[in-house]
């Protein structure tokens, strides 16, 4: 039986916007299809075996927690994270977790070192927090799809040379409110400011991550059995409409 082995990084600290909704969503969709699901966590000071996890998730946290997590990521998880990605694991980094993928980010005037596994950096600029419903157009190889959710970030993220954004902003702010780019994609690593429970609002992305994670161990991309997604589709449409109602 196929199995999805999920690793959540810092579930104690990086969970501020109901990130557990993503885990619940992945678990149910696997179980309904008869796909095994196991979930592990790595917190402060804990390393992990890069071969034992097919999907890595890191969510958003409060400033103080994020500072602590940044130092710990670099000290105890950078090597394993990079090795897991090199070995074909998929990863989703959201909000604060997304910022930490980059080379650096700023917090209270201080420049903090990030994981440095994605070509991006995050700075502070004058102006309000970038908050609101957001929708972006994403193409992960199977044609354009819409990703819709909510963003709430003080930092402005810029993609460095060679980097590819996850999507193009349709409504909302995106990485920095200026260049129309949102998130980053680097092979099986996805980063985005669409925070908290974004997978429930975008079932197609959840299934894409499940397929990529399983492909890592099976050696080929599985055919996922379709589910009755009427409520999922309605929630997706509702999130898109909410983004369309926002200005900009």
């Amino acid at each position: 039986m196929a199995e999805l082995r999920l690793l959540t990084l810092y579930p104690e600290q990086m969970n501020i916007y109901a990130d557990r909704g993503n885990v619940i969503f992945l678990e149910r969709r696997c179980r309904w299809r008869g796909i095994g699901f196991s979930s592990a966590a790595a917190g402060i000071g804990e390393g992990f075996d890069p071969d034992e996890h097919d999907l890595i998730y890191i969510g958003g946290g409060q400033d103080r927690d994020q500072r602590m997590v940044a130092a710990d990521l670099v000290a105890t998880k950078r090597v394993a994270f990079a090795a897991a990605l090199a070995g074909g694991a998929a990863a989703l980094a959201v909000c604060g977790g997304y910022q930490l993928l980059g080379t650096s980010y700023e917090l209270g005037g201080e420049r903090i070192e990030g994981l440095g596994i994605a070509p991006l950096h995050t700075v502070r600029e004058p102006g309000p927090r970038l908050t609101g419903n957001v929708s972006i157009e994403v193409d992960l190889g199977s044609g354009p799809r819409i990703l819709a959710g909510f963003e709430n970030h003080g930092g402005r993220t810029y993609i460095d040379a060679g980097g590819v954004p996850l999507g193009r902003v349709l409504h909302g702010h995106g990485n920095n409110g200026r260049d129309g780019r949102e998130g980053i994609v680097l092979g099986n690593l996805l980063g985005t400011y669409l925070h908290g429970p974004l997978l429930p609002k975008n079932a197609w992305l959840a299934d894409e991550l499940i397929a990529r994670a399983i492909a890592r161990r099976e050696g080929r991309r599985p055919e996922l059995r379709p589910l009755d997604d009427r409520i999922e589709d309605a929630a997706h449409a509702g999130a898109i409409r909410a983004a369309e109602r926002t200005r900009a």
Partner: protein, 477 residues
């Protein structure tokens, strides 16, 4: 101790208007309020304050300074309206009628409106948690009651820790001029009652729950204070009662839960009917019958009791006052609609929703059958535009206890989705957009009682709808 002379409150002469002109502005704002209420269009709870603060930015301080008696300010993420209502009922039993922003309009203009209407020489103000640091010096409270801090509407307020830091600065600055009533069981609040060296600040009363039987079996997912504010060490929880409210120790720096001065023992929850408990205070013990349900309302009652003692309300009147309390607007009220009971309970954030879900779990147990529900999730500014929070609330509690649920509101499908993934059978979930049509369908399908769980703006819509049908008083009355 801080010198009390260096008040930062704005005064006449510092950009404000002279006494005669100010009185004219107050009179004009009051007239607008009366007019707006008479026209029935609502808005009477904030409009006069808005107008006056625009004409005289220092009005709040000037009006509050006129109050000769005590000025009590209440803030919390959850329960501030209810706590203020409880304290008002207790003061009422003692024949005291404070100036009180009882409509729950708790930002600067709501408080200003209550002051413009006047009518008493003491003040009782419920203040929004983010507004508290901004207007506390204007109101210059003699007593500050702080109930809890939970994650709520993060799109409006930024992060919880920032708010806690602002509150800490507020308390430190007011020590010596203000008395404090603080929740010992919320580490974010209790810690405000101690200075840097863990010395108890002057004038603090702590309250808390001392009944281990009320602890939840496991810590909830929406858990907001895992780490000590002082040293960052994870708290060790002996037990938790509501969200992160409970008995905790800090193994790092010793910032443990302080022993409460006012505490509830022998709590008995009676479903939606209410609860009974014994309260222990420095003045003795008292048996309380609380006609509104849930352990969270026991916390609200403790805050009101501790405040009433500080306000020198005679002991026996506290009991009488609490017995007469009605739930605040939309926080558990039951209205007869077409031969069925419609019980309305506001949900607005994970901690509050979890307590509503616990009360409903008790109701389902008592009924011995599945319950009928109507849930309306809106994403207006007053609801919090970010509906992510529904994934942090423990809807799993009711997975096999629901006969039928109707989902409504601007984000009806999102709440339906949450219920599906909480294990609720999909053939019992119905989605409709419109509040009115959906409520009617839910009522038609329900047994004797329908539980309605609206977010804030959905509650306003619901109340307006019921008022139009002649079933409920409109909220600003």
């Amino acid at each position: 101790m801080t010198a009390t002379g260096s008040s930062r409150r704005p005064r006449a002469g510092s950009g404000g208007s002279g006494r005669g002109l100010f009185a004219a502005k107050v009179a004009a704002a009051r007239a607008v309020g009366a007019l707006s209420r008479r026209s029935g269009r609502g808005g009477g709870t904030t409009l006069p304050g808005r107008l006056l603060l625009r004409a005289a930015p220092d009005a709040l301080g000037r009006l509050a300074a006129r109050l000769q008696g005590p000025r009590t300010v209440i803030s919390a993420t959850n329960g501030k309206t209810t706590t203020a209502g409880m304290l008002a009922a207790v003061l009422d039993a003692a024949g005291r009628r404070p100036v009180h922003n009882r409509a729950g309009s708790n930002m600067a203009w709501g408080v200003a409106t209550a002051l413009i209407e006047g009518g008493g020489d003491e003040g009782l103000f419920e203040v929004d948690e983010a507004w508290l640091p901004r207007i506390v010096d204007d109101l210059s409270p003699t007593l500050l009651v702080l109930g809890n801090l939970f994650r709520d509407q993060l799109d409006r307020y930024g992060e919880l820790e920032r708010l806690a830091d602002e509150w800490a600065a507020t308390i430190a600055a007011r020590e010596g001029r203000t008395g404090f009533v603080l929740n010992a069981d919320d580490p974010l609040i209790a810690d405000l009652g101690r200075d840097r060296d863990l010395r108890r600040r002057d004038g603090v009363t702590f309250f808390g729950i001392e009944d281990p039987d009320q602890a939840v079996a496991e810590l909830q997912h929406a858990f907001d204070a895992k780490h000590c504010r002082r040293c960052g060490a994870p708290y060790r929880y002996e037990r938790a009662f509501v969200g992160h409210l409970g008995h905790y120790l800090c193994p790092g720096c010793g910032a443990d839960r302080p022993a409460p001065d006012v505490c509830a023992t022998a709590v008995e929850l009676r479903g939606i009917e209410g609860s009974a408990f014994t309260v222990r205070t420095p003045a003795g013990e008292l048996a309380i019958d609380l006609p509104i349900p849930g352990l969270y309302n026991v916390y609200n009652a403790l805050a009101a009791i501790a405040a009433a003692e500080r306000l020198e309300v005679p002991f026996e009147l506290i009991r009488a006052g609490l017995g007469s309390v009605r739930a605040a607007f939309g926080r558990v009220e039951t209205i007869a609609v077409g031969g069925r009971a419609l019980s309305i309970m506001l949900i607005k954030n994970p901690a509050g929703a979890n307590e509503v879900l616990r009360t409903l779990e008790l109701e389902a147990e008592r009924a011995g059958a599945g319950i009928d529900l109507w849930i309306a999730l809106n994403d207006g500014i007053a609801d919090g535009r970010d509906v992510s929070w529904v994934w942090d609330a423990d809807f799993e509690l009711l997975a096999d206890r629901v006969r039928r649920v109707h989902c409504a509101g601007t984000r009806a499908a999102e709440i339906a989705l949450r219920l599906k993934y909480a294990g609720w059978p999909t053939d019992r979930i119905e989605i409709a957009d419109g509040i009115a049509a959906s409520l009617d369908r839910a009522l038609a399908a329900a047994g004797d009682r329908l539980f309605a769980l609206p977010t804030y703006t959905a509650l306003i819509e619901l109340r307006t709808l019921l008022a139009r049908r002649g079933l409920a008083a409109e909220f600003w009355r």
